[in-house]
Symmetry: C2
Subunit: 436 residues, 2 copies
Amino acid sequence: MSPAVWQIAESARQASRQFATIPSVQRDAAIRSAADAIEQTCQQLLEANAKDLAVADVMLTSGEINLASYERLRLTDKKIADMSRSMRAVASLPDPLGRVLQKTELDTGLVLEKISCPIGVLAVIFEARPDAVTQISALALKSGNAVILKPGHEVEHTASLLFHTMRHSFAKHGIAEDSVSLIAGREAVGELLNESGLIDLVIPRGSKQLIEFVQANTHIPMLGHAEGICHVYVDAAADLQMALDIIDDAKTDYPAACNAAETVLVHEAVAMAFLPLLADRLQAKSVKLRGCDQTKAILADSSIASVDDWNREYSDLVLAVRVVPSTDEAIRHIHTHGSSHTETVVTEDRAVAEEFLAQVDAAGVFHNASTRFADGYRYGFGAEVGISTSKLHARGPVGLEGLTTYKYVLRGTGQLARTYQGANARPFSHRQLSTE
Amino acid sequence: MSPAVWQIAESARQASRQFATIPSVQRDAAIRSAADAIEQTCQQLLEANAKDLAVADVMLTSGEINLASYERLRLTDKKIADMSRSMRAVASLPDPLGRVLQKTELDTGLVLEKISCPIGVLAVIFEARPDAVTQISALALKSGNAVILKPGHEVEHTASLLFHTMRHSFAKHGIAEDSVSLIAGREAVGELLNESGLIDLVIPRGSKQLIEFVQANTHIPMLGHAEGICHVYVDAAADLQMALDIIDDAKTDYPAACNAAETVLVHEAVAMAFLPLLADRLQAKSVKLRGCDQTKAILADSSIASVDDWNREYSDLVLAVRVVPSTDEAIRHIHTHGSSHTETVVTEDRAVAEEFLAQVDAAGVFHNASTRFADGYRYGFGAEVGISTSKLHARGPVGLEGLTTYKYVLRGTGQLARTYQGANARPFSHRQLSTE
């Protein structure tokens, strides 16, 4: 019988304690060793993956999964090489632990440091993505966290072999085996989400349904986003050619991405000039437009459907278009219908740009740039844990830093708090010291 | 009929939007004006407080509240002056908003800034503390957040007058009225905790029961701590005199504080020498000791009770004492029974100190200093929102920074994501720029 979920979580908690004494070089070596082992296990991985694909074939036929999911599930030589390369890239990033974030002298011989440290135990729940197993494990180990993986059942054979391969490599480098654990089955998810005393952070990666399920069923803090409803606002003072290019990129570069644009808001002063250009450009790229009444009146094109819902994440070659009377109304629309992911204004008017950047409440607010830049790699983080639309802990693309917390380390020489209070209180110096 | 809780939350959300355009000087002036108004309302405040006290008298007699709660509830001229002074101190702190936390050039003419901004809407649930109304409102306004206050019913008259006085002052300075709201009644708390779409952060301030109730009944992120079970570990290489002073300070300076020590762990190598000194020192200060069997054997004092639970926060002049065979066992005890609040090691052995500081997983880890230093004022934060024992967002004493989040602001000149990918990808420069 496999151990209960709480036992796995308890073992992960114990394993997480070891990281306080495992230096960066040892964690990196373990990640690189796992990357090598995965490449060497290529043939067996393809065989395990074939078992998953056999099941997925049936699900594809019955419509239980779609072709995109099927493709994500399918391993190839190249994908395995990519997985290993990504792990090595994580190993090469700077150590996120032990950084002195702030250093304050409270008094002579009493120095406070704020130091980055691991969060503890992560739980990652994902669907049909074998690469999530390796990427998340590498990121967790790099940041000194234990991790419990719950793969989708469609990917169980592949995930299990990846897991055993990594765990073996990690153990060879002195990393406690329980630093990485795997659980299976839908029931286990429910049990996992109840372990708020043992699990510090849950990271769901997958469909909106998965993320909403996790959100509704746990008190464990969550990192992620349910949806990305991103807007491009074409202001009255927009460079229209630039607006076309940005919308094209934001919509068609990778329509299924969370940072793809779903809705374009066009200031009424340029609607007449801009909308026909937009229709030409996007229809040539097979993008279906859905317009507000004003948009439809201007385009006078019966092929343009009405918008049924401004809150839709199409994740497809479909774009909603609305004409707005003002920047204020554009901002109001974004706050009402957006998901606080990434919002762009296209304008040559610096005052409008700054108004938009200041007022729009979202993880990313852009001026004259594609929404697609909202990404950990593009931001220069080296690796991405995910994109967060929550406002606490980590917001926007989250790099390794999002898998760390901090603690306050105070080094004294016998100081007492009562010395610093009352009638003859000794004053604090509170002098900021260099953290270098 | 008073508006429903969701309507109040929705109005607070709308009001929170204004802060994007309200400069620091205006927020500060509004806080100072409210501080003045509260001093000028002194007489009426004492009258309102008298009504609360009349009810509290009955509750005190019936044992529904204790004397400490009654005293916290009671206003005096001096307390009102202190409240105003604290508000002015908050107004004088540096603006926590609009700080450039990081600045990266992604490419020529494409610059990413990570900028501090308000969280949005805070909900603060507290018990019999009138000063919580003013302090939290000042902190919220300073950090550009709307706040919904739910005072305990014992303090309703006082809180209501404080609230109306502040709201009036804020409005005079162009701050939307709904930036501060007040709700009453137990039912309202349940409704409030359900508004996870409108409320970004809940801050419970009060008893362990209150905090555990909030924790169990909401999906809104919470800032706070349920308990502070802090330890002092007296190592084999401790300066015993220093250890006595630190324990005395940590236990007796303010026993009800969350950063007071609850348990002392003594290395067995010094137990024989140290425990009699400890007993003398603390018994002179009326501290009751509760010991493990070994402690009781060494002290041979029938007045020392057995420990019934290492997980107790006594919040009183009671101290648990345990003899441990090693630093490892001390750390294990802390991880098993502590609340990850603040832990101190007393030792002259630098290696032991560093081992303790690195391995103990808590918001504060101290060497040769009293646990009582875990406090926003002592850390130099100027003001304290509370002390957090959660690991995400904010840990340890939380200053104004804990009431802010950040957003990524990207200023471009028409850049497209697809330019930077594929075969002829243009490289990113990812150059860190100065944030000054």
